[in-house]
């Protein structure tokens, strides 16, 4: 008995509850913002505000449930520790789901600043990363529409990509995977505030293009659609074309598949982008009768329209930014792994001079519940007992 109790007592001495930390003595960070402040780093954090549950009152709207703090520091970790002065509690980054990086910082060599995010076990690799136009604290302190936290709301938007290919979604591990891949370029969604009904709201607009370790330019919303098609990530959304220069016709995309077929001749690249789009007729503002002939005409219009979008994106990437984030590089690497070593260094040059043709094939599978949009010459059923 004595030996037994001695064993238990020594067990208690061995290790205490050193890793135990009460949740009401810690501050949980939900969003991290990084900005440039002269030579230093400006770190802003969005902390979940532990309001008592009976004080909740008005749900949604207004950031009653967040605390936004800012601190200048040399590095991310020193900032995190320094913020204890202001937050009065130890900061926990376990739930940091959004990283916001200001454009000014992103235009410098900013990748090395993110090292901590992968080195420390506290951070999640599946958190999303964004570029902001201004100081990230502006985004973090913008009032939300429904969620409690701004950063949570931004992230919930990314889950809706199925219905809208106008923005991209990049998580930290995906971001580093791109940077450590054969083509060390990456892209990140840009988030900014805009005014609507006298109220500031956040909105994801466009994509930042990152060449090696700094941001070199941005794609607007339309070019982002082209990028998503090239990356085979556009799985839904609507596309609208103009019929006979006046009326609009839209389709809702169900399926979309992109294939890139590169052909390398020395240092000259020819690539073929094959896009197969399948969709339903969603909106028909024309008066024409819907038949096979009309559908095949509309399908051609859509193919042309999508081709234009993709070409526009490629043009911008090739001529203006000279950065390959389109997936052509990866396909080339897969097809010519031996030749790749010799051309890797000058790949961005090769890409910018490459001849890339886009071939889109659109299929409309359903025309919806009605045939013509407005049928004025309805034939009423004959009343059987009419005189």
């Amino acid at each position: 008995m004595r030996r037994c109790s001695f064993m238990i007592l020594t067990l208690l001495l061995l290790s205490g509850c050193w890793s135990s930390h009460e949740i009401d003595k810690s501050a949980l960070v939900h969003g991290i913002g990084l900005d440039k402040a002269e030579d230093e780093l400006m770190i802003s954090v969005e902390i979940i505000k532990p309001t008592g549950s009976n004080e909740q009152g008005s749900l949604g709207g207004g950031n009653v449930q967040t605390i936004v703090l800012e601190k200048k520091a040399d590095s991310l970790i020193s900032g995190a520790r320094g913020l204890i002065q202001d937050a009065k509690r130890r900061l926990y980054f376990n739930h940091a789901r959004a990283w916001l990086i200001s454009e000014e910082l992103a235009k410098q060599d900013f990748i090395r600043l993110l090292d901590e995010g992968r080195r420390n076990q506290m951070f999640r690799l599946n958190s999303n990363i964004f570029i902001t136009k201004t100081n990230p604290i502006d985004i973090l302190s913008t009032s939300t529409l429904y969620e409690n936290l701004s950063s949570a709301e931004i992230i919930s938007a990314l889950e809706q990509m199925e219905y809208n290919p106008e923005f991209t979604s990049v998580k930290i591990f995906e971001f580093f995977k791109l940077l450590e891949g054969p083509v060390p370029n990456a892209y990140l969604p840009i988030i900014q505030t805009k005014e609507q009904n006298d109220k500031l709201i956040t909105s994801i607009e466009g994509t930042a293009v990152i060449n090696t370790n700094k941001m070199v330019g941005r794609l607007d919303t339309k070019e982002t659609v082209g990028l998503n098609i090239l990356l085979n990530k556009a799985k839904g959304g609507t596309t609208t074309v103009t019929w006979n220069d006046q009326d609009k016709v839209s389709i809702e995309v169900n399926k979309s598949n992109t294939e890139i077929l590169p052909t390398l001749q020395g240092k000259h690249l020819k690539a073929k982008v094959k896009v197969d789009v399948e969709g339903n007729l969603a909106d028909n503002m024309t008066t024409s009768n819907i038949d096979e002939e009309w559908i095949s005409k509309v399908e051609k219009l859509f193919s042309k329209h999508i081709e234009d979008i993709v070409q526009q994106t490629l043009k911008k990437l090739q001529e203006e930014l000279k950065t390959d984030i389109s997936g052509v590089g990866i396909e080339t690497y897969r097809k010519y792994p031996k030749e790749w070593k010799t051309i890797q260094a000058e790949w961005n040059e090769i890409f910018s001079t490459a001849e890339i043709s886009v071939d889109v094939h659109t299929t409309i599978t359903h025309k919806g519940l009605i045939n013509k949009s407005v049928e004025r010459d309805h034939k009423k059923p004959k009343y059987p007992f009419q005189r």
Binding site: M7, C17, H21, G52, S53, Q65, N94, H95, R97
Partner: protein
């Protein structure tokens, strides 16, 4: 779980202790003198007002009369039988026989099923006190023991602790003979044996060991009988004491002997090759061997279709795990691994924690103890005050403590779920309550490491248990793969043609043949 480590300590305690045995002097026998006999009996019985000495006369054909006494205990004898079948025939008629044959004649006249001759005073007294009636006639050194006890017994009712929807609604009662009859009615086969034993020097408790001779393992039966024989105590209060005296691991928190109040379950268990121990005065029968798996089984599983039964069994098992680990996982997630909580869930949790003045560990321990108090109060409380309890329990513990900011709502949810899950497996609810607290303490000190180590210790302990030599964790450890058909899930009865191998038995085949399936 420290009780595993130090074996030598317990083996010392296991050694049989010396009991001051009451010296049995050569017991006196009845003499030929009735007055002397009466005095002998009264010496031991006269201060008890429930013992009645009824004097009457037996007339002989010669005209002589003989004095006779009936000694009985008021209230535990069948009065009608004694009056109509003993006193009436004896006092009405005159006996036409010699004095030597009188006792035989009397025996013939009395129409009571069981009459024994008794000449030992000590034994006679015990018989009287158990509800038998002693007839002493002047001039004989033997008495007639008339077995005609009759006392008030409770009507057979459904057991409150083991109810059923589809199945028998009979339950055991306090009377041993009725309980034996309840089982016998279900297995009217000569192979079903009820062996009688008496335990307890003062309580003289009747115990019946039931088993089906051609199915049960004779070694196991012998072992049970031997262990019960070795019990030398003054009294047996209930079957729970027998359970603790004969089990293999009396210091484990897991019971290795099962109990049931249902005769249909008892009959089913007997047919599996088990042994049932019935104790007089207790409506709870014991069964041996009991496996851990028994706790998630129910008799009703076999009467409904296999799909739902299997689902319910899985639910019972999962509930057991949830019940013991949920508070532990909760404290682990919040105090040690905050990243394990889903991000959407963290906001309400933080907000609930913020107002609570206690550390999480204390908050949960407090709630567990309070729930335990409410549960215990609910069991023991007289029904008239029951409504007060439910108001206090539901309102004070649930709502007001949250709105007063003393306890967080998530804590109440976690502890409540843990308790409700335990209610689905009532047979080991006591074990669950202890394991819940044990695991919670381990994980509040050492985090998930503590939780995993504690779970491993429990599992190791469980696999080391035996129920009178039968492994407690069968059919998982040792592995009896064939028994898995009727373990966590129950496959159709048609596929279960063999008896369970986990329970030692002599007759493996259960189903010989069945009608073909389909309309052919």
């Amino acid at each position: 779980m420290s009780f595993l480590k130090n074996k030598s300590f317990f083996s010392k305690m296991n050694k049989p202790k010396k009991i001051d045995e009451v010296q049995v002097h050569p017991s006196p026998t009845f003499s030929f003198d009735l007055d002397h006999n009466e005095k002998q009996l009264k010496k031991q019985l006269d201060l008890s007002e429930d013992v009645v000495f009824h004097h009457f006369l037996i007339s002989l054909h010669t005209g002589n009369t003989l004095k006779a006494i009936l000694v009985l205990v008021d209230g535990i004898i069948n009065e009608d039988a004694i009056r109509n079948n003993v006193l009436e025939p004896l006092s009405d008629e005159s006996f036409e026989c010699s004095k030597g044959e009188l006792l035989e004649q009397v025996k013939k006249k009395i129409s009571i099923q069981n009459i024994k001759k008794e000449n030992n005073i000590e034994k006679a007294i015990f018989q009287i006190l158990k509800g038998n009636t002693l007839l002493l006639i002047d001039g004989f050194n033997e008495g007639l023991m008339l077995v005609a006890h009759g006392y008030e017994v409770r009507a057979i009712a459904e057991s409150q602790s083991e109810r059923s929807v589809r199945g028998s609604h009979e339950g055991f009662i306090e009377s041993l003979s009725n309980n034996i009859a309840l089982i016998r009615r279900r297995i009217p086969h000569p192979s079903l044996k009820f062996e009688k034993m008496i335990v307890g020097e003062y309580s003289q408790t009747d115990i019946s060991i039931a088993y089906v001779e051609s199915i049960a393992d004779p070694k196991l039966v012998e072992k049970v009988k031997q262990r019960i024989n070795e019990i030398k105590v003054d009294e047996i209060k209930n079957s729970g004491e027998i359970e603790q005296f004969i089990e293999d691991h009396p210091f484990s928190i897991f019971p290795t002997i099962g109990n049931t109040e249902r005769p249909d379950k008892a009959a089913a268990l007997l047919m599996e090759g088990r042994i049932i121990i019935l104790v007089n005065g207790d409506p709870v029968g014991l069964f041996i061997p009991a496996l851990f798996l028994e706790n998630i089984k129910s008799v009703e599983d076999y009467s409904s279709r296999p799909y739902y039964s299997s689902f319910i069994r899985l639910m019972r098992f999962i509930s057991f795990l949830i019940s013991i680990t949920l508070p532990a996982l909760y404290v682990t997630a919040i105090n040690f691994h905050k990243e394990m909580i889903p991000s959407e869930m963290i906001i309400p949790i933080i907000q609930a924690r913020e107002t609570v003045p206690f550390p999480l560990t204390m908050e949960v321990i407090m709630m567990i103890l309070m729930f335990e108090v409410v549960r215990e109060a609910g069991v023991r409380l007289p029904q008239q005050v029951g409504s007060a309890l439910s108001i206090i329990g539901a309102l004070i513990l649930g709502q007001v403590s949250v709105s007063a900011g003393l306890v967080g709502a998530p804590t109440i949810v976690v502890v409540s779920i843990s308790y409700i899950s335990a209610f689905i497996i009532t047979s080991i609810a006591d074990v669950t309550a202890l394991l819940r607290i044990g695991l919670f303490i381990a994980s509040s000190i050492f985090g998930s490491y503590g939780l995993i180590v504690a779970l491993l210790v429990i599992l190791t302990h469980m696999t080391s248990l035996t129920s009178l030599g039968v492994p407690y964790m069968a059919p998982f450890a040792p592995l009896y793969f064939k028994d898995w058909k009727d373990s966590l899930i129950r496959l159709p009865l048609r596929w279960k043609k063999q008896r369970l191998k986990s329970i030692p038995n002599q007759r493996s085949t259960n189903i010989k043949s069945l009608p073909k399936t389909g309309d052919k």
